[in-house]
């Protein structure tokens, strides 16, 4: 089961940086982070940071897709947003399983994870300007945000694959490989968003009216 909202109650854990406070009981100790990289010849802290960032991106993206699916009034687009919910939820599940295998808490939100969440959340704020555009453009805005989130998600999968490929044979390496395979789910849909946007914009440009 994927957790889309990480809170203390849902098992949130973290690592404090200069400006953050993580309660002592929820702090993931540095040695635990380092250990996962040692076997594979990688910097464990950085790998965990990246996984957390990808998980947070997928969580916010899944939530945005829920909101977009509810708001969209175009059947075809609503279906796309609904498909994205499932894709991102499966990504969250894959990354949480990866944390399981690396013996880190599933709800680990690293400093980089916080920033990834903020970035994705900020993209999701675009519809707050719905009053400035036509309903048609509001629909396009949902698609624009979905596309921006998808681009990052595809790039994330690529980055994780590169890290896995550079890892030495180890349990960490096989866990990473497994996650890379799982993250391929929905790739075609994510990549298809560019085309879909072009198609929608072309249709709007051709439509009658002002």
């Amino acid at each position: 089961m994927a957790t889309l909202i990480v809170t203390k109650d849902s098992g949130g854990a973290g690592r404090s940086e200069s400006m953050t406070v993580v309660p002592p009981g929820s702090e993931v100790p540095l040695p635990a982070l380092q250990a996962l990289g040692d076997l594979a010849g990688l910097k464990g802290v950085v790998v965990a940071d990246l996984i957390s960032a990808q998980a947070m991106h997928a969580r916010v993206s899944a939530r945005f897709a829920c909101s977009a699916a509810e708001k969209s009034k175009v059947g075809e687009l609503r279906k796309v947003h609904q498909a994205l919910i499932n894709i991102y939820t499966s990504h969250v599940a894959a990354l949480e399983s990866l944390f399981d295998e690396l013996e880190l808490p599933r709800g680990y939100v690293s400093p980089g994870g916080r920033v990834a969440a903020f970035l994705a959340q900020s993209l999701g704020q675009a519809p707050l300007l719905a009053g400035s555009v036509t309903p048609e453009w509001t629909e396009l805005t949902l698609l624009e945000v979905a596309l921006a989130l998808a681009e990052r998600s595809l790039a994330d999968a690529l980055a994780l694959a590169a890290i896995a490929a550079s890892a030495q044979t180890s349990s960490t390496r096989s866990a990473l490989d497994k996650a890379v395979t799982a993250l391929a789910a929905g790739k075609a849909t994510l990549e298809g968003l560019r085309e879909l946007r072009a198609h929608c914009l072309a249709a709007v440009a051709k439509s009658k009216g002002t």
Partner: protein, 412 residues
């Protein structure tokens, strides 16, 4: 099973608007109101004001008709709540009397929050602020004695809060960089810590705003000076406490947390309220807030795909209470009187290097001039032969701050 507003039925938003007669409520009698009833009134006013201002800020970041109108409707209800709550204060309560009550709130609220705060860093921040507001009560108590005559202090604070020096106001003036603190992380924060931080921000912010506005209403230069000096510390306190909030939270999440905190505090205060009429008011407002939580949750769900049930705790934490904190405060006084801040951390003032920015700031504001918070004690000693204190638990826990009738007893 504890209390969870998401599973309760509130008053529909459309039925929350009250008429002028309902809003213009009979104030309490300042002579027989319980000091902690007055304290609860002041806290809830600060909480409503913060919620309203936050909603205004949110409204300035969107032009979505549905979001803007929902916010406007909830905000109007919160505005009406604020009127009823603050209009409980009687017109014959002087500005200085209200000021004493504000500092009593700052003391006993902060002490309770610190005592129950689960996170060690946040607790340290609260303890640090506690000793400063504790000193403000002492300075204002001496001022009111000089300006409005004797007995006013105990009429307001009762014997629930002791009046004696805390960390002397003169040494509280620090460089702005040393007021910024670290913040909690939304993914790991205890729900109680979040509410503590939101509550203390609201309380300190209203104290800051109050002094900013009422400070010049007095004629004597000493009174005007003391208000502006302490208003500057309240600015420091707001800077300190607002630093605790996680900037990662979105507008919709903040909106939900604000109404949830309103709910939590009305629910808390309802349990201890001794005035039945005011208890009924807390209950009425709780019923309204249950609906605010529901509507803010609906907005969060629709616009961010977040289920409020997953963001909020399954039940409310232990209630926030006004209680006598005399012993706790004495312990903190004894252990932490010498602390100052350096960046985000707290250190003994003696450990600062001579070129620390703290000393530069101290010099910039204090050097070569009469410092109002010191002057007020000198004036009191001059007029009455001693400073004003109200203690019930023995001598001051810090020896250097014990009474010395002929001298200003707060020198560093």
């Amino acid at each position: 099973m504890g209390f969870n507003p998401l599973t309760e039925q509130g008053i529909p938003l459309g039925k929350q608007i009250r008429n002028w007669r309902e809003l213009n409520i009979q104030p309490f009698d300042k002579r027989d109101v319980h000091p902690y009833t007055r304290a609860r009134v002041i806290v809830m006013n600060g909480i409503e004001v913060e919620s309203i201002l936050s909603s205004h800020q949110f409204a300035r970041h969107t032009d979505d008709w549905e979001v803007k109108t929902r916010l406007a409707l909830m905000r109007r209800a919160d505005q009406q709540q604020q009127k009823v709550v603050n209009w409980l204060l009687p017109g014959d309560q002087s500005v200085l009397e209200t000021t004493l009550a504000y500092e009593q709130v700052a003391i006993d609220l902060t002490a309770w929050l610190a005592r129950t705060e689960p996170d060690p860093y946040l607790k340290q921040v609260l303890d640090f602020g506690l000793l400063e507001d504790f000193d403000h009560l002492y300075r204002y108590a001496n001022l009111i004695d000089l300006i409005e005559g004797p007995h006013r202090v105990t009429e307001i604070v009762g014997d629930l809060t002791e009046v004696m020096p805390g960390r002397p106001t003169i040494v509280e003036h620090r460089h702005p960089y040393d007021e910024v603190r670290r913040h909690f992380d939304s993914h790991t924060v205890d729900p109680l810590s979040r509410m503590h931080a939101m509550t203390i921000v609201a309380a300190e912010q209203q104290t800051m705003n109050f002094y900013m506005n009422v400070g010049p209403m007095y004629v004597p230069r000493l009174a005007r000076g003391l208000y502006l000096e302490i208003a500057e510390i309240e600015e420091q306190h707001v800077t300190q406490y607002e630093s605790l909030l996680d900037p990662l939270d979105s507008w919709f999440q903040r909106e939900l947390f604000h109404h949830y905190n309103e709910c939590y505090l009305y629910w808390s205060f309802m349990q201890d309220e001794v005035d039945p009429r005011i208890r009924d008011l807390w209950e009425l407002h709780l019923m309204m807030e249950i609906e605010h939580v529901r509507v803010a949750g609906e907005l969060l769900k629709r616009h961010e795909g977040v289920d409020p049930q997953q963001l909020l705790p399954a039940e409310m934490p232990e209630p926030t209470r006004f209680q006598d904190n005399k012993h706790y405060i004495r312990e903190v006084l004894a252990a932490q009187i010498d602390l100052t801040a350096r960046g985000t951390e707290f250190v003994p003032v003696q450990s600062l290097p001579p070129d620390a920015r703290y000393f530069k700031y101290q010099k910039a504001v204090n050097e070569g001039v009469a410092v109002p918070s010191e002057k007020v004690i000198e004036e009191h000693v001059k007029q009455f032969g001693h400073d004003f204190r109200a203690t019930t638990e023995g001598p001051h826990p810090v020896e250097s701050l014990r009474s010395r009738p002929e001298a200003d007893d707060t020198e560093e």
